[in-house]
Structure formats: structure tokens, C-alpha cells
Symmetry: C2
């Protein structure tokens, strides 16, 4: 994997180090609800504000109705590759509690939960790619969500396919090394990391 | 650790399974910037919308000015235990880009980044406890943040101390088993997890 060219100052756990977001998914690999069990279990045990657990997930398996609804909501630049994935998931935030009070950290907590999902997915041999480019309102309606919930992100889950099957523009992006801001630029004081 | 009473249907990676949020921190353990390097490295390599990386961190070590500023911003129910931690961190979202455009997934992405931090911290033998109970505006001002940034959460980092040192109410909470909603209640379709 070309992402091994990543520049790291400190060693981190391999499950975190090798996580990445590919677009070339196997178009034939089949995933089952059981296969995803450990991933959702990891998501379930994530931390949240006041243990509010403001997350839920709708999962579609290639060929079923939920898969179609989720793919239909995607921007075309995403669906062109994401439709091939064995599973697609709508990551949903409970934005208001049962008394109508806003849960201010709902989106943040869903982010944590999905991060845990993606780390466990890596342990299971799956690759995950999250996306924000989709019609959240249309999908919320298609899934029958009420006003206390909204879809924050989508993600694909499956196994790596052949990058040669991607359109040229995406094929090039698949092999570009992962880049990040320098550690000293995101931590204050940062002199120890310069 | 009493959290081993957790009920899990599926096995997950030990780094995710054993993560928890204690309040009893060692009041003498010293942490260095180098000690936290792998944790911030993990945070750095988290996923984000369009690779926007809308996260930054201000870290205070017990006894220094940043530690004091961060503790001063906490609700009293948090500072009573969190002040003892070797390090406290302000988790900051860049909510607007350089052209003033809102980054809609900034909070979500900071959540992911902090989740990665906490998983790596567990690998390093540290415990992390995030909190939302603090004065974000006052702390942002004390830290000199501009209008494009805001503190989303705080977290403590250190090693476990003696729960007997906590006030009685918190001491009891320290040994309560971790609980979560059932897997079938957060995943649709959930019949495979019932």
C-alpha cells in the first residue's frame, strides 16, 4: 500500500497507522451482518457526552433496498465508486433528546463512534471510506427518520478491489501518499514535535 | 478493572475494549510532551472531510499556565477530579476555513481525532476522560483563539490513581460497570444482533 510512505515522528498502533480511505472496492465481495458485528460493537462502546450514545446506523448490503437508498442519496462523485462496496452505512446522530433538548455534542460523538468502527473494521480486514457528499434531508426522509435524528455522514465498508477498475481521475488519487499537517502545527506548545 | 463486566456480543480489539473514562488520576505522575507524542500522532492521522484536518490541541502539564487556564474553565464537578491529571488538553475545532466558509463537519472530525488519541493513549498506558462541562468562550479567550476556532471538548490524560482519594459520590461512580444500549437498538436492520 502506497500509504506506507506516510511520514510519522512517533510510532502508533498498526490499526491506526494503516487505516486509510480507498475508493477501489471489490465489486463481488459479500459482507454479512455477522461480519460487521465486531465493527458495530466497537462503535457501541465509544465514549459520549454524559453517556448519551447519540448514534445509530442503517446498513445496506449490496443489492438490498437500504443499499440502494443510501447510494441514491450520494453525490455522483461518490456513488460512482461507492456503489460497488459490499456495504454502505448511514451514520445517524440523535440531535435532540426525548424532551426536545439539543444534544450539543451529538455530531462529535458520532464521529468518535465511527472512528471506533473504522479501527475495528481495519482489524477485520475491511476498508472504510466516509463521505459528507450526500443529500442528508432526502436520505433522512427515505429512511423515515424523525426530527430528532439526522444523517451526519455515510461510509462504505468492504474489501479492497482493483484500482484499475476505477475511472482514471480516481485511479490516480488512489495511489497518492496520505498527507497531514505537521504535528508541531496542530499541537501547542509544539516545540517538542518540531 | 470492574469494566470487564461489560457485556459484548462480539469480540473487539483490546485497545477499544479496555478504553474507559476514569476520574481517579494519579496526583504525582508526571507526563511529558514526548510521552504524548504517539497520542497526538494518532490524532493527526485521523480521517476528515476533504482531509480538512480541522483539529488542533492545546496541552497543559500539571503546574504550568495552560493546565491552570484549562482547569479554570471547567465546571466545578469536573475540576474537582480533573485538576489532578498529569495533563489536560483543549480539543479545538477549526469551524471556518481561511475564506470564512463554515466547515460543517468540524466537530465530527475533531471527535474522530480525539477518539484516535484516546485509543493510542490506552496503548501507551494512559487513561483519558473527555468532558463537555466547561466554559468554551472563556477558555477560547484565555487561549487567544480567533473567531474561526472553538474549543469543543476538554480531556484529561494521565495514569490511574487511587479511587479512595475521590470524594464519596465520585468514588462510587468509578466502580460502576460501563453500560451501553443494546446493539440491536442502534443498528438497522438489527435482527442479526438481537
Amino acid at each position: 500500500m502506497s500509504e506506507n510512505t506516510d511520514q510519522r515522528t512517533f510510532d502508533i498502533d498498526p490499526l491506526l497507522a494503516t487505516r486509510w480511505s480507498p475508493r477501489a472496492y471489490s465489486q463481488t465481495h459479500v459482507i454479512t451482518a455477522g461480519d460487521l458485528g465486531p465493527c458495530f460493537e466497537a462503535a457501541r462502546w465509544s465514549a459520549s457526552s454524559g453517556n448519551s450514545q447519540p448514534w445509530s446506523f442503517v446498513v445496506g448490503f449490496r443489492g438490498d433496498d437500504f443499499h440502494q437508498k443510501i447510494v441514491d442519496s450520494m453525490a455522483s462523485g461518490n456513488s460512482i465508486w461507492a456503489a460497488h462496496a459490499s456495504a454502505v452505512v448511514a451514520n445517524i446522530a440523535t440531535t435532540h433528546d426525548s424532551e426536545g433538548k439539543a444534544l450539543s455534542h451529538a455530531s462529535y460523538d458520532v464521529g468518535q463512534s465511527v472512528a471506533h468502527f473504522s479501527v475495528q473494521a481495519n482489524a477485520e480486514g475491511f476498508v472504510v471510506h466516509q463521505m459528507a457528499g450526500f443529500d442528508a434531508d432526502a436520505l433522512g426522509q427515505a429512511l423515515g427518520l424523525d426530527g430528532s435524528q439526522s444523517v451526519v455522514t455515510l461510509m462504505t465498508v468492504g474489501v479492497l478491489g482493483d484500482a484499475a477498475d476505477l475511472v482514471e481521475k480516481l485511479r490516480e488519487r488512489e495511489s497518492v501518499p496520505r498527507v497531514r499537517k505537521r504535528l508541531a502545527d496542530i499541537v501547542t506548545p509544539g516545540d517538542a514535535y518540531a
